[in-house]
Amino acid sequence: MIEKYNLLTSDFQRDAPKEMMLLSIISQSFFQPFSLEDNLLVILTALTSGSGVGFNRAMLFLKDGDRLRGEVWLGPRTPEEAGYIWEVLSTPGIGYVEIIEHNRALVSKNESTLSHRIKSLVFTLDEETCAQMPALAACNREIYLVHDAFNEPMVDGKFMELIQVDEFLCIPLIARDEVFGEIILDNAFTHVPISPGDIKLASLCGLIASNYIYSTTLHQRLLDAEKMAAMGEMAMFVTHQLRNPLVTIGGFTDQLLQPGGVADNKRERNLRIIRDEIQRLENIVYQMGHFLKISMKEPVYFDVAPVIEAVIQSPEVQTRKQGYALNVKFEACLPQVYCDPTSLGEVLRNLLDNAFDATPPGGTVSVRAYKKNKTSFVLSVRDTGKGISSPDKSQLFRPFFTTKEKGMGLGLPFLKRVMDNCGGQVEVQSRVGKGSLFKLIFQSREEGRRP
């Protein structure tokens, strides 16, 4: 007999030992689509979320060149608040997304006070000059527990002024022999002494956090390298895309300017050609700018139905559907979907454009929106067009790959970026001569449910 278990626990069980829960929450960061900052915050939340295991407050420093820079300070301000956070974390059915949302709210509440002040703290990591806590821990790559901190000369004065606590723990964040930062933990409210058990657990969390930062940094470097390669390809492509319209505009303008001019019907034709080519240039410029926008917007939960509705009813789509059967089917009650709403709208518009481009007039384009299960939502676009050949299929998401005469090859790469950004998935099915199906799968939740 074989039993199947999920790779990720969907909720954190109340009856599990708190240590287990803490590590479970932290290790799940690796699988989440959220930003490095969001995931680090979760780690800090986990470290400060209860009176039993956790600490009262956690402060994160990140390495910035040869300096250690204060980044964020998280922690309940009272023991009651700590209890409340633990309640939130251990509520059955509460997922990672809710914790993230909770954190964002907490940080924005603290922004003016704690987090703002910690950002002014910068210490050198230079081995020659670094002699005081907290930077010494990162510099020496050792965990330090500081007691009687007010009377300890090896603690930085400005740092003491800010944290105002007698005892604190410094955990350097190190992975693959590289320092990434430091976490400072204390029990400023309960004044419970930090035990050897607490230190062990905190150092384990520190190791996981360091590896997480390390892999994220590596991933970012890889993305940057890919981006550079794509830029070279892009420069080539754009040259071609821009030159052809320029030749056409130049040539037909010269005809108009010739002494003696041209016949009336030809003048109008030339002007139309020039107008079309200018529109094409405009489109190229728009799409390039759009694609090059480096940062994607943060995903949020939003009601998906009005967004889809707006795209279908938009003048562009209403004009394009002439001569086709556009078949739209929604479930009566659509959930809240996790994505950036504007990007989702653009993605749908791109898919519809592609579907119409691929399908000869008289064909059918179908849009479906439905709940796949309690936590995922599907948006699909199907056409009865020419389909995608196997060699083309592997290139679908490569920037500047296109089979259209005047395409830029940026629509589907944009789609891929949007889906990656919100932790969604894309499925493509296609048969040459029969048509294609693009299925987008998003994280979703029941309407109106809030953490």
Partner: protein, 117 residues
């Protein structure tokens, strides 16, 4: 009347070349890809070929290679949006390389040169 074959996938550019070179007194035939060019070469004795490089299907460099195999001594002008193909030694087999520009003067000049006018 000298006969020119234009190989270019962009239809509106073909229209421009057809009209502009026609005005110069040439008989212009336009085709949209390399296969159509080879077919036209089998039927008509052209005096000059103008070809793009990036085209769907066979590209311009493959086309030039095949024309060389036909052992017809027809001058060829490469007319591409890219400068960089000049680095591909196969493009050296062509008689001229004119980068696409908003003025057709250079192209017209090269045609006259190659046709000995």
């Amino acid at each position: 009347m000298k006969k020119i074959l234009v190989v270019e996938d962009e239809k509106v550019l073909c229209l421009l070349y057809e009209e502009e070179l026609g005005k110069e007194g040439y008989a212009v035939t336009v085709v949209y890809d390399a296969d159509a060019a080879l077919e036209a070469l089998g039927k008509t004795a052209f005096d000059l070929i103008i070809t793009d490089i990036r085209m769907p299907g066979k590209n311009g460099i493959e086309l030039i290679t095949q024309i060389m195999g036909l052992r017809k001594d027809i001058p060829i002008i490469i007319n591409s949006a890219y400068q960089s193909y000049k680095e591909d030694f196969m493009t050296w087999a062509a008689d001229a390389y004119v980068v696409k520009s908003s003025s057709l003067d250079e192209l017209k000049l090269k045609i006259r040169e190659l046709l000995g006018e």
